[in-house]
Amino acid sequence: MTTSSITSLLIWLPIGAAIALWILPLSRYAIGSLAVLVSLVEVGFWIEQAARFDFARHGLQFSQRTPWIKDLHVSYHVGEYGFSLWLVGLTVVAMAACIGYGFWVGRDRPRVYFGLMLMLTGSTVGVFVSQDMLLFYAFFEAMLIPLYILIGVWGGAGRMGATIKLLIYTMTGSLVMLAAIIVYGLKVGTFDLVDAPPSASRWLFLGFMLAFAIKATLFPFHGWLPDAYREAPPEVTAVLSGVIAKVGTYGMLRIALTKFPDPSGYYRTVVLTLGAAALVYGSLLAFRAVDFRGVVAYSSMAQSGLITIGLFSGTNIGFDGAVLQMVAHGLISCSLFLIAGTVERRSTTGEFARLGGMARGRPALATLLMTVGVISLAVPGSAAFAGEFLILAGAYQRAWWWAAIGATGIVLAAMYMLRLISAVLHQARGPAVPDAALDLRAGELALVVPLVAALLVLSAWPAGISHHSFAGDAPVQAVQGQFR
């Protein structure tokens, strides 16, 4: 157990910066630059942390604990495990790219916008590192508030409907989870995630799982997804699908599976079925979606299903693959949505019927979209392939049919992703694509290329994550041992 305030710094630096942005009388340009700078400093801190992380050691690292409500054993307790380190890394990197995107396109009302984006960064990091259930809940909610506002104010034409839907769904989930947290915490006498003993209550398990399933957009809890992903500004969609959806799967790993071993065994088949349903259903709908974001949105749903299968397969390679896939897919969908944003800026639409032929004369756009596209369809050798392969190999050890369904998903992924790639890049120029539409500019490249580079590095060395997520790389033991 190492005590360090760097984790808290990762949470509170962006939140502090957000408050500073709201108070200080800065110019438009200065606000944006400061926000980008802060997000880059976050990435720097994270790299520093990752360099000092000891992947062989069991238990929490970089932790900090201060009593908060003593009578109920609630404390401000933060810290990281291997897998949370990677998810925090995903968050800070993706958020840096998205804040940079907001700066590049020059969002109006920058003071509020960048403040909210920074708040979102801090609270999402908070979700991944909090080791106290009430703190977890607080960050869970704090993460949603900026999202509502970001979609509701800066979104597309149907933004109000999308926001309300998102609000109804996520609030239902989080309130049920709050009830579960309170009951569980009072029953075991502590709200601390590390100390709390496992529980056998099926109701509590279902309460937590509902919230996580909604967040991870498992079938059939994904009703908020299409509207929100389509109406939000592209960089917010990138965060939603790249990072926020991973909160759901992270919660399954950290709380549902760890704290409820018996109920998760009892409901294993149900959850696996939901995951498989999300995979197949999402893939089918992605194949029929009519626009860029629709395809990526439903493919994110499919991927969440796959990650859930990996987690609930309950095997070593399934867990490792799921963590790897969370990070890989986070980077993929973040870059895909940012690219969708750049395409929409050039053509004012994401509809396939009006797009096409963008590859000719735009090599950077074509190369990047093609690269991310083929990584996302899990072409062998890519990070996503490594993740999916491990997940399905793990699922096979549970029962062969999960792997068979997953393999169908791989074929479907090839179909919808290639459809997207050719609809945007190939064949005749679409009516909405102006002749003068430029290739990606330097600023846009500076946002997407680092994400793609991270993906390529991961593709060259997936073991970097899959072997460094659980102490001693024995995930099943780690989960059974409550990560102590």
Binding site: L284, I317, T408, A428, S466
Partner: protein
């Protein structure tokens, strides 16, 4: 020796990256030369490992690992290369033929406005193919397997303005994704039993699996092999793949990638031998394909499609060879086929290039008079393909037929089918030759045959064609079973021929004589039908139509798989997602609003109503307390 293998593997990747990063800063022609150099460096690396392996005693093979690629729990896979007789042979073929074809591309692609992209792709392809053959474990083999599929997709769809090219590229990728998926499933079985995908451990595991399990593993591998090698029923993508540039067809869809299925069977033969039935299914699949593809090739009018069907048919021979257990014979045919089929595609490319992209053989009549060198080169390739001695195809094809002849009654059946295939080969090959080359040049040919490249084409195109023509003639001389078989001996440590596939001398003689005679008969019939003295071509409209529609495979798949799946997806979207899932949120909201509307009426604003409710409430609570107590 592994240094050579690493050099061989990464030189083309480096080339691709250089071209990608160079972008428009480097001239087009430089991109071509970077690519060519990188592939020839790879060839040098392959030679290095070949000679090192020969010098090493026993030449069994050596694995060298760079770093741990994937590790999860106790499952661990390194990024490693394997140098053994089988992989060095493939490295030499891939890098050697690949280098010649990339060199040819410099001339062929000259003037295309996206040359740099082409050369980046093709270098990347060579890298992927080398990864496939050198990969030191099954997972890396699958990685290479997938990456060649990807580069094949990229290159088929290279001219992405053409809808047909894009569709063909997608089709090829999806078909291959099916194969990848079945292979992955096979690997899952192995992982579940041995937690490893190292060759040695997996082969050992295969021996301990239940018969069902090992059959499933072999079937999964066979699925991958059939998809990649365009064997029936996963063959429909190959003819469409001819939408790509001709050098791509020569390299990927003739010489290297499509033959990977044969390599896979040879590489994983210990698994297939545990599942002998599946191995024989592979042989049967090859036999069926070689006959059907030969028949379809008879009626095609696109020069590249004829050669594509011929490729399918020849890979059918290789599957037959590998399936009956004569791995070395299959690999031998793979090698000679790489020479003569690449040659055929490249000469076809020279013709197409000269005729400004025209591919219809009916318009090409008489081109031979204007391009004599091309004509002789094509003829050499054609004779090698038909298997006329002493051209290379004779040595490799006949040994496969002989090996099949030895293997029980089904072997005999397959050998007879293969002999019929030899007849078909002679027929369709020389139909092509007689239609295109001899005779007076047609008006179309005269009009389009532009002479600005000199006589037949730039030197970068003609030199590789010349080299391959020589190889197509002499390439088979390294082995003449039963007298002289260094190749079989070389491959013995990696893929020993099964005992049942070693034919007697009589069988060798029967197979050779019959195959040659039937091949010549095919040539004769072709001369009779399409040569200068024209007989009437027999008309069988029903058969012809069926063959022209490629026996309706595309239509059947469309009706059986694609359209139902697409319709189902549409149905799901229209009748479930939109009305049920997406409407649930708003419905909940509206329900809440309506409920509020109802409750609102209770709020009258009259004090006495409130008091009444209050009183009622107290009364109910009182009664409840009484009752509960």
């Amino acid at each position: 020796m592994t240094t050579g293998a690493w050099l061989c593997l990464f030189a083309p990747l480096l080339g691709a990256v250089l071209i990608l990063l160079g972008g428009t800063r480097i001239p087009r022609v430089v991109a071509g030369w970077i690519s060519t150099t990188s592939v020839f460096v790879a060839f040098a690396g392959a030679l290095w490992s070949f000679f090192a392996l020969r010098a090493a005693s026993g030449h069994i093979g050596r694995i060298s690992s760079a770093w741990t690629w994937v590790q999860a729990g106790n499952f661990k896979v390194g990024l490693s290369v394997l140098v053994d007789p089988l992989s060095t042979m493939m490295m030499l073929i891939v890098a050697g033929v690949g280098g010649l074809i990339v060199l040819y591309s410099i001339g062929y692609m000259d003037g295309d406005d996206e040359e740099r992209r082409y050369f980046a792709y093709i270098s990347f392809f060579v890298f992927s193919m080398l990864l496939l053959v050198e990969g030191g474990n099954l997972l890396l083999l699958l990685v290479g397997w997938g990456l060649v599929g990807l580069s094949s997709y990229l290159l088929i769809g290279f001219w992405h303005d053409r809808p047909s090219a894009v569709a063909a590229a997608k089709k090829a990728f999806v078909m291959n994704a099916i194969g990848d998926a079945t292979m992955a499933l096979a690997f899952f079985v192995l992982i579940a039993h041995s937690h490893s995908l190292e060759f040695g451990a997996s082969f050992a595991t295969a021996g301990q699996l239940s018969p069902t399990a090992v059959n499933l593993v072999a079937l999964g591998l066979l699925g991958g092999a059939a998809a990649k090698s365009a064997q029936i029923p996963l063959h429909t993508w190959l003819p469409d793949a001819m939408e790509g540039p001709t050098p791509v067809s020569a390299l990927i869809h003739a010489a290297t990638m499509v033959t990977a299925g044969v390599y896979l069977i040879a590489r994983t033969h210990p698994i297939f031998e545990q599942a002998r039935t599946v191995e024989l299914v592979a042989a049967g699949m090859g036999t069926l394909t070689l006959v059907v593809a030969g028949l379809i090739a008879l009626v095609q009018t696109d020069i590249k499609r004829v050669i594509a069907y011929s490729t399918m048919s020849q890979i059918g021979y290789m599957f037959l060879g590998a399936g009956v257990g004569a791995y070395a014979n299959g690999m031998f045919h793979l090698m000679t086929h790489a020479f003569f089929k690449a040659l055929l595609f490249m000469t076809a490319g020279v013709v197409i290039h000269a005729l400004a992209g025209e591919q219809d053989i009916r318009k090409m009549r008489g081109i031979g008079a204007l391009m004599p060198w091309t004509r002789w080169a094509f003829l050499a390739g054609a004779l090698a393909l038909v298997g006329v001695p002493p051209f290379s195809g004779f040595f490799s094809k006949d040994s496969i037929i002989a090996a099949a002849l030895h293997d029980h009654w089904y072997g005999v059946v397959m050998a007879i089918a293969a002999l019929f295939g030899a007849f078909l080969t002679g027929l369709y090959t020389f139909r092509l030759y007689f239609i295109v080359f001899p005779g007076e040049p047609s008006a179309f040919v005269r009009e389009h045959h532009h002479a600005h490249h000199g006589k037949e084409g730039p030197l970068t195109m003609l030199v590789p064609v010349g080299i391959l023509a020589v190889l197509a003639v002499i390439g088979g001389w390294i082995q003449l079973s039963p007298f002289w078989h260094p190749l079989t001996t070389w491959l013995e440590p990696a893929a020993r021929t099964l005992g049942v596939a070693v034919p007697t001398n009589t069988q060798e003689a029967i197979a050779s004589v019959a195959a040659v005679l039937l091949g010549l008969a095919g040539i004769g019939v072709a001369y009779g039908l399409y040569g200068t003295d024209r007989l009437v071509v027999p008309k069988l409209p029903a058969v012809q139509r069926a063959l022209e529609h490629k026996l309706y495979f595309d239509e059947a798949y469309d009706a059986l798989f694609y359209r139902p799946a697409a319709a189902f997806a549409t149905w799901v979207r229209r009748d479930f997602e939109e009305p049920v899932i997406l409407a649930t949120g708003p419905d909940l909201g509206e329900g809440t609003l309506e409920l509020g509307e109802g409750v609102r009426r209770l709020q009258t604003g009259l004090l006495r109503t409130y008091v009444l409710f209050l009183g009622t409430g107290v009364a109910i609570v009182g009664v409840v307390f009484m009752a509960v107590r």
